[in-house]
């Protein structure tokens, strides 16, 4: 018995023409995180899932250099994450989180780049997750995200500016004498003009302020050395004497003054992570990794007051071209199987298709030109989404026109390519084999499941093709789609749910399971902290059978249930994500038992944000997010074995943000929405 990496699906599009070259039309980023500006005003960007650092001119018109490949050698990275510029020397520091180390890169005006030193992975330091980094007065501070202290706390590590280890900070002692503050999964760091360190303390959803000795510096508005009440805390930047917290509110940047007083929000962002001050006045760089985008914005933060919301002006945006053939973007879920029995993918007129695709690309460029610099951030993101979405419709019509489709739609592996608003499918599972199939999906479509009724339902057009059940995270609507051969598209068969907290409503639905004993549809209603069981009547109408669970940490309660599976006996297994456990229920929703406990561990029943679950032949497969592991259990909850790996090496099956897994015929399909591919693992009994 064993689980091992097999292959991946999702083309890598990282080739660049000879440099320098235009940043327009040549650049497809993969989840870029960190950025910085060097002494010559050039923009450096960590193209994290591509394992390289890119350098652009100050206007971000040209790609000037690309440095690094995947690996653990001297000019190699495994997820280059955050960058910071030395204030005096021509050095850039790069945290190499998957290799547990930090690089110092020296550069010249003509952009010759060489490695000065690599450090942090020596045994006496043994970084476990170097993420945020700041440099000040000859010292360097690194946030060690996955370090595990005596009580599981993370730490800051202080080095000299040339990489000599000095000491660690494992707790922050407030300067007003309160209780020690601990760090859990610290990510971004920043500095104010006095050299105080600001830490995005992700595990607690706070931003902590301390000095270089670990003494907490109190915010006068809160009386504490941290800001809390945040939705998320993935990053922090101190710019224009304001504390900017990307994600402090959903899809916004929260802005506080240096006293910790909330000043307002910058709206119109999607999961922003890194904000870097640019040389021009009131200008900053912002990465939105899941949009594969680096942007330059301008805003006067001094005039943001009274808790109001405001847009920034977008001066430039690059990198978000992620719809090349075979490419996936924010892939979230999978259903079906790779059978390799198909005769193939039909394309009746390849020359005409290329010509039409060329015309669409020209049209896309035209639409982008119509988004001039200075657009408000919310309008820019909405226009960009609309452009992509309209393009999906056009491409669908081209495929329909060309009769360009898979021969056997009942026999495919389907993938929810959420960032591209579409389903893609493959018949053979090869890395570049994903092809769009049928209509554009609604924004926010996340989970999918295949449902084959016991007998044909009224109005069901083709009984041989399973119905596809799709959860929509944003609208709370669950759609059951069927294949319409006349239209050549998936069309709604029925719908249910809708956003809300009422019995028949849903809020942020994620994973879906079909009960093999009776074909009921079970939905992880994560925002309402419950599981909903729906059923299709003999006439095809959906009705609610029951819900179970509520917010809490006692047994039978949930804190963000993200996925569910049901075994052949009708037992329901739920990933209770923020309670770090698997809860087990009978078919009536009665709590039976739970297993798992919070903690690090790649080969144990410890979980840290278990996110997804599926089962086959009496085995349970759990994707454990922070531990970056697929853990295999029997249905009694006994741990059997696991596969693990943190990083972005596509040849090793490593993981960054694995999402809703799917198991079929001894294969585990695990979409990673940050690496933009579906990893395939083989499970041998």
């Amino acid at each position: 018995m064993g689980i091992s990496y097999h292959s991946y699906i999702g083309a890598t599009v990282d080739q660049l023409p000879p440099l320098p070259c235009s940043a327009s039309g040549h650049l497809s980023l993969s989840t870029p995180v960190g950025s910085c500006v060097d002494k010559f005003g050039r923009v450096w960007l960590a193209d994290t899932a591509h394992n390289r650092v890119l350098v652009f001119d100050a206007n971000m018109d040209q790609i000037l250099a690309s440095f690094g490949t995947v690996g653990s050698g001297s000019e190699q990275f495994n997820m280059p994450f955050r960058l910071v510029t030395h204030p005096d020397k021509n050095w850039i520091y790069v945290t190499d989180i998957g290799n547990f180390r930090v690089h110092i890169l020296a550069y010249t005006e003509s952009l010759e780049i060489e490695t000065v030193k690599i450090f942090g992975n020596e045994p006496e330091v043994a970084l476990r997750g170097p993420n945020g980094i700041v440099v000040h007065n000859g010292k360097l501070c690194v946030a060690d995200e996955f370090y595990e202290g005596q009580h599981s706390e993370s730490r800051l590590v202080i080095f000299s500016e040339d990489g000599q280890y000095e000491r660690t900070i494992e707790q922050i002692i407030p300067d007003n004498g309160g209780e020690a503050v601990h760090l859990l999964w610290p990510q971004g760091l920043s500095l104010d003009k006095d050299g105080n360190i600001y830490i995005s303390n992700t595990g607690f959803a706070t931003v902590v302020r301390c000095d270089w000795q670990g003494k907490g510096v109190t915010f006068s508005a809160t009386g504490k050395c941290y800001i809390d009440g945040l939705a998320l805390s993935r990053g922090v930047s101190v710019i224009q004497n304001r504390v900017l917290i990307p994600g402090g509110k959903a899809n916004a940047i929260s802005v506080y003054d240096l006293n910790g007083q909330f000043m307002g929000s910058l709206d119109g962002f999607f999961a922003p992570v890194q904000i870097t001050e640019f040389n021009d006045p009131q200008t900053m760089l912002i990465t939105e990794p899941f949009l594969a985008s680096l942007q330059k914005h301008t805003v006067n933060l001094a005039t943001l007051k009274g808790g109001k919301s405001r847009s920034t002006k977008v001066l430039k945006a690059i990198g978000d071209e992620r719809d090349n053939p075979g490419q996936l973007h924010f892939v979230t879920s999978v259903v079906g199987d790779v059978t390799q029995t198909q005769s193939g993918y039909s394309s009746n007129a390849p020359l005409l298709e290329h010509w039409i695709e060329h015309q669409l690309a020209l049209q896309d460029q035209l639409l982008k030109v119509m988004q001039p610099p200075g657009l408000p951030s919310w309008l820019s993101i909405a226009l960009s989404a609309q452009t992509e979405w309209v393009q999906r419709w056009q491409q669908t019509m081209v495929r329909v026109f060309l009769n360009d489709k898979f021969d056997d739609p009942e026999d495919l592996l389907w993938m929810m390519d959420s960032g591209n608003y579409q389903l893609q499918a493959t018949e053979d599972g090869k890395s570049d084999s994903a092809r769009p199939i049928s209509l554009p999906m609604l924004p926010g479509s996340l989970g999918i499941a295949a449902l084959t009724p016991n007998k044909p339902l009224p109005g069901q057009l083709d009984y041989s093709v399973p119905l596809l059940v799709v959860s929509n995270y944003l609208s709370g609507i669950v759609t059951i789609l069927q294949y319409n051969d006349t239209l050549g598209e998936l069309v709604p068969y029925t719908v249910f749910g809708g956003l809300g907290t009422g019995d028949e409503q849903l809020n942020q639905p994620q994973g879906i399971a079909i009960d093999p004993t009776n074909n009921d549809i079970l939905i992880a209603d994560s925002g309402n902290n419950r599981i909903c069981r729906w059923r299709l009547s003999d006439t095809g109408g959906p009705f609610l059978v029951h819900t179970f669970g509520r917010l809490g940490s006692e047994h039978g309660e949930f804190h963000t249930p993200s996925d569910i599976t049901v075994d052949e006996q009708g037992q329901c297994f739920v990933t209770d994500q923020n309670n770090n456990r698997i809860e087990v229920f009978d078919s009536h929703g009665k709590w039976l038992r739970s297993f798992g406990k919070e903690g690090y561990g790649t080969a144990s029943e410890s979980f840290l944000l278990p996110t997804s679950i599926d089962h086959e032949n009496g085995y349970l497969f759990v994707s454990d997010l922070v531990n970056r592991a697929i853990k295999v259990f029997n249905c009694s909850g006994e741990f059997l074995e696991s596969f693990s790996g943190f990083g972005a090496d596509r040849d090793k099956g490593q993981l960054w943000l694995p999402y809703l897994l799917h198991v079929k015929n001894n294969k585990v399909y695990l979409p990673d929405c940050a690496l933009n591919r579906v990893n395939v693992y083989q499970f041998n009994i």
Binding site: L442, S475, V491, L499, G527, L551, H559, G599
Partner: protein, 81 residues
């Protein structure tokens, strides 16, 4: 000392409980209700006009455009941490 994991879980849970009475965004709930009705209309349209490819596609396009207008700017922030 209680493990940092337990304390972080407790802090997040109490924050979530404090937000729960706020419910969901009223405007989004109204948009969602309207979309549900549009879905029902489209299903009926496709059932009764299955052979009229053009009008079915138009109905689908109108439905999905409504959804896109209501929800595209919000997007999804995926699994956490």
């Amino acid at each position: 000392m209680e493990s940092v994991f337990k304390r972080a879980q407790g802090k997040k849970l109490s924050h979530r409980k404090s937000q729960e009475p706020n419910g969901v965004c009223q405007k989004s709930e109204a948009d969602s209700k309207q979309l549900m009705q549009q879905f029902q209309d489209v299903i009926k349209h496709v059932e009764t006009n299955a052979e009229d490819e053009g009008s079915c596609k138009d109905a689908l396009r109108r439905l999905y455009t409504s959804h896109e207008t209501s929800f595209s700017a919000k997007k999804v922030t995926g699994p956490h941490e």
